[in-house]
């Protein structure tokens, strides 16, 4: 305990010291607004890019729900007995994994096929209808594992039927999405690392400007913790500013790319709406900025103070 100090003063004094450090750091930023804004802008751009890519990827995944190509399971009931077909119908009615199902009668299918032909008379050569009855099952979900499980369950119900599912494209879309996420995390990590170094450099150069103050403070018994405190607050301020700026950029970016994306999707007969990121995602962006700002300041101040006299 220092002379003239009371225990009940310790915590308020500590809080005051932090407030002073934050205030001084803010003043320093306001004195050089252009430099401060550049730091914030750099961080904002760096955060906005992966965030934008993430929103696109997330929407692309949601696309699978809108595509007119739900995974289907087709059961070709070639020579399947009527009792088994009744079992199948019961199963289809009760299984929650089934969205709906369509019975395509063999005769009906042939008639439809006939309509599509240029010369319907061709089919008259056939002695009997070569087409089987088909049950087209539309699963309730596009999740590849659920679809695969449903397919097995149906195959077990109708042992004689040929069961074909076209959920390959779901798997492809899924793996593309996974690949996208992987690329995004690599790009995000590299950009984050770059941002960290830029912020560390900015902190180090700020500490160089403060070197006389630091030298005097050192002589007066200042610890590293005391000396880097304003820098850490500065880092947090830049980080928060960068996070907010990134959020604004993201919203603008999505706003600008919405119409062209929807037009492009319409050209492919896809119903696609680019949805805005929610509050949670914007908050995550803010936290990412804050964390990067703090870490960068910590890195830069640690280095600069170690080298300082």
């Amino acid at each position: 305990m220092k002379p003239g100090r009371r225990l009940q003063d310790t915590v308020p004094a500590w809080l005051e010291a932090h407030r002073d450090a934050a205030r001084r750091s803010l003043q320093r930023r306001l004195q050089a607004p252009v430099l401060s804004l550049i730091s914030i802008a750099v961080l904002g751009f760096i955060l906005a890019l992966p965030a934008y890519l993430w929103v696109l990827l997330d929407n692309a995944r949601a696309l699978s729900a809108h595509v007119d190509h739900d995974p289907r399971i087709a059961l070709y009931l070639d020579g399947v007995e009527a009792a088994t077909v009744a079992d199948l119908e019961r199963h289809l009615e009760t299984d929650a994994r089934v969205e709906r199902w369509i019975w395509i009668d063999a005769d009906e299918a042939l008639a439809r096929y006939r309509e599509g032909l240029a010369d319907p008379g061709l089919l008259d050569w056939l002695d009997e209808n070569p087409l089987p009855d088909v049950v087209d099952v539309i699963p309730a979900t596009a999740d590849p594992e659920t679809v695969a499980a449903l397919r097995e369950a149906l195959a077990a119900t109708v042992p004689g039927a040929t069961v074909v599912s076209d959920d390959d494209w779901v798997r492809q879309l899924n793996s593309l999405h996974q690949l996208g996420l992987r690329i995004l995390s690599v790009v995000g990590a590299l950009l984050g690392l770059g941002a960290l170094l830029i912020l560390a450099l900015a902190t180090a150069s700020e500490l160089r400007e403060r070197r006389e103050e630091i030298a005097i403070s050192r002589i007066s018994g200042a610890t590293h913790r005391f000396l880097r405190r304003p820098s850490l607050y500065g880092g947090v301020m830049t980080g928060l500013g960068g996070g907010i700026f990134a959020g604004i950029l993201l919203l603008i970016g999505i706003g600008l790319s919405r119409a062209p994306l929807e037009q492009a999707a319409a050209a492919f007969d896809l119903e696609f709406g680019l949805s805005l990121p929610g509050a949670t995602h914007l908050l995550a962006l803010l936290l990412a900025g804050l964390l990067l700002g703090w870490l960068g300041a910590r890195l830069g101040s640690g280095h600069a103070l170690r080298d300082a006299p």
Partner: protein
């Protein structure tokens, strides 16, 4: 308060800045170090303040063995010392008050107590009315007095001053040394380096003379250990 035993300081491969220096300053004493520029006065003060480490020898200040003090313990040790420089080393990005308050900020004093102490220190050096101005606008003598207020605001047990009168005219110099004498009267140990022999001798205090990094025996020498 201060005890040096056969202390040598060498910078790189250059010749010794201090050779085999031994001295003792008792608690509550006031002493001067004199000698021409380059004699090692500043180096001696920097060693005592823990700003440099000795190449050889032992330094004990205010109960701390400086040659064994860990890096973590150095800030705590420095808080018990006040340092005055020839060039004041004031910060021109803040007013006089904030300059003087710096050591108290480091010690995490609360605002009201800080204000009280800073104003008391400024009052002591006769600059209370200048607390709000930028030190750049002050005269050399006033700047030096702000530097002194900063050095004593946290009531250190030891005051070290390196050529505090270096840039001042004789009348101002006497005023400054009188201030140190006042602080010494209230119990602060003081060690002051100055090349102004005439001025120092008029103070009637022990004088250590440094020449080429060695203590020279003099009539008015302090208390060599």
């Amino acid at each position: 308060m201060i005890r040096l035993q056969r202390v040598t300081k060498r910078f790189g491969s250059a010749s010794e800045a201090l050779s085999n220096v031994s001295l003792r300053v008792d608690p509550g004493a006031m002493a001067f170090i004199t000698g021409p520029s380059g004699a090692g006065k500043s180096t001696l003060l920097r060693l005592i303040a823990g700003l440099e480490r000795p190449t050889r020898g032992r330094i004990r200040v205010n109960g701390h063995d400086l040659d064994r003090l860990s890096n973590r313990a150095i800030p705590g040790f420095r808080r018990s010392i006040g340092l005055v420089f020839q060039d004041h080393r004031l910060l021109f990005d803040r007013p006089v008050f904030d300059n003087v308050a710096l050591p108290l900020e480091i010690l995490a004093y609360r605002r009201p107590e800080m204000r009280k102490r800073v104003r008391a220190a400024l009052d002591k050096v006769g600059l209370l009315h200048k607390e709000g101005v930028n030190p750049r606008t002050l005269s050399a003598g006033e700047q030096q007095r702000v530097g002194i207020a900063r050095a004593i605001v946290h009531r250190p047990v030891l005051l070290l001053a390196d050529e505090p009168t270096g840039n001042l005219d004789p009348a101002l110099s006497r005023e400054i040394l009188q201030l140190f004498d006042d602080f010494n009267r209230v119990g602060m140990t003081a060690l002051i380096a100055s090349h102004d022999l005439g001025l120092v001798e008029r103070m009637g205090k022990p004088v250590l003379h440094l020449e080429d990094g060695r203590i020279e025996a003099r009539a008015a020498a302090g208390a060599p250990a």
